[in-house]
Amino acid sequence: MDCLLYSFFSVPKESLRNKMEYLIHLAILFAIYAILGISLNLVVGYTGLLSVTQSAFYGIGAYATAILLTQSGINFFFSVILGIIITAIVSFLMGIVLSKFNGDYYALGSFGFNIIIFSIFLNWQDLTRGPLGIPGISRPILFGLDFSQNTIFLFLALIILAIIYFISRFIVNSSFGRVLKAIREDEKAIQVFGYNTFNYKMMIFVIGAAMAGIAGALFASYITFVDPSTFTLNESIFILAIIILGGLANLKGSILGALFLILLPEILRFVGFPTEIAAQMRQVVYGVILILLMLYRPQGLVGEYKL
């Protein structure tokens, strides 16, 4: 997200048109992070698995789209599908290992996987061009609409957010979702009643990962440039902060949390922090917010579930 900071703060705020452009930019980022938030909430909030590796899937989706769009003439839609497939495969393999753990070890293991994937982004230079990143990703070409217009892209992002939201709602309200919550509450106990919790944990982990991959595809196509620095551990923790702030096990909460944390740098700037400091402060603030939430309000803004 660091590269975005410069585009944040380099937009002059004089003209109204620029203000609108800027708002649309924020709105698109908001949509992307709302998707990420929802994807992680399914795993952390509803199933109780403290996964700190969502940015890995975000990155896989982004890189898949980046590579496919710059190196072949594949349509955006198909590159998203391929991105989902790759994300699903990687998360499946990761899930097999992770789902054997619980609690602390799960977090630690996912931590490790995040670092592994990040290292792959950084070092598999033949594929990803390493720290140089992949520039020149095209905007989607769908239905003859001109997605180089940010307004139209925002439309796309919001529609995808809506689809993901409704799919998640369906999952959460189903019998499957109820079992997820039981796994969160007491995994051994729900096993005794005949459930193969390993399969449930695998499924939701892969679903969450695939959704994060979709967010990554959106990101890649919007910014038209990807590099490893966006997909770090800190990014995973940021997504975690979004859903804890919004409220675990609450889909609307994730959307709210994303809104709040995207607007936060703006609020900081408004309050008077000079631009350069505000950039560094961002990370500190996210960390402090997490700590404060744990100390004083673990259920977040609208959550019913207390960590």
């Binding site: 189903s174 019998s175 079992v179 919550k181 005794v192 009643f193 005949g194 193969n196 579930y305």
Partner: protein, 249 residues
Amino acid sequence: MKNILEIKNLSKHFDGVRAVDDLSLEIEEGKITGIIGPNGSGKTTLVNVLSGMIPQDKGFFIINGEKIVKIKPRNIAFYGITRTFQDIRLFNQMTVLDNMLVVLTKRPPVGALLEKHNQLYLNKAKDILEKVGLWEKKSELAINLSYGQRKLLEIGRMLATSMVTGEPDIFLLDEPFAGLFPHMAKIVESIIKELKEQGKTMILIEHNMGLIRELCDYIFVMDEGKLLAEGEPENVLAKKEVIEAYLGE
């Protein structure tokens, strides 16, 4: 009458302490079998091993004529076994109704995902919740209930366990009466009697000797992981060793 469950030479130790020591016993079908013994005699460990929550060190089981060595928790449902927990393991941040529904729905993940809202489940949950007197509290979070209500919900959840292969046959009740007020204990008693009438098998762990005498057809006494005595309640409870085991602790 045939034995629905046989436990053969079961041993389980924790860090050198023999929780269950070469235990063998048979449970007759359709009877209420009590397991009693002083604290620490291994009763709960026995039930935990039987429900697959911890693996045994030695020994095996014969359930419905089938020899089983390794019990996985998710398989006991298929053997027709269901249970309550002594330390109440409810799904705390879920509603009373959800605690019931979650043991009624389809087990396979994809099936559970695509399952349409089933009125049948709701009806069964309602019947049981009304029986234990918790239907009005159906939208309350389990953690907000009183101790007695939580125990009743445990029993209700056990009753609700439906199986792919049919209704459960063996009910493991781990101290279901502990800490209950008389009017709630009466509800549990009537549920047990009703199950008996339906020909179900029950294993009852209890400390209340009056209830043991009244409800159990046959009892086993455990002490320090071993089988101390067995037989009909009246005979066993009069035995010297049994009285000494309890008083001596």
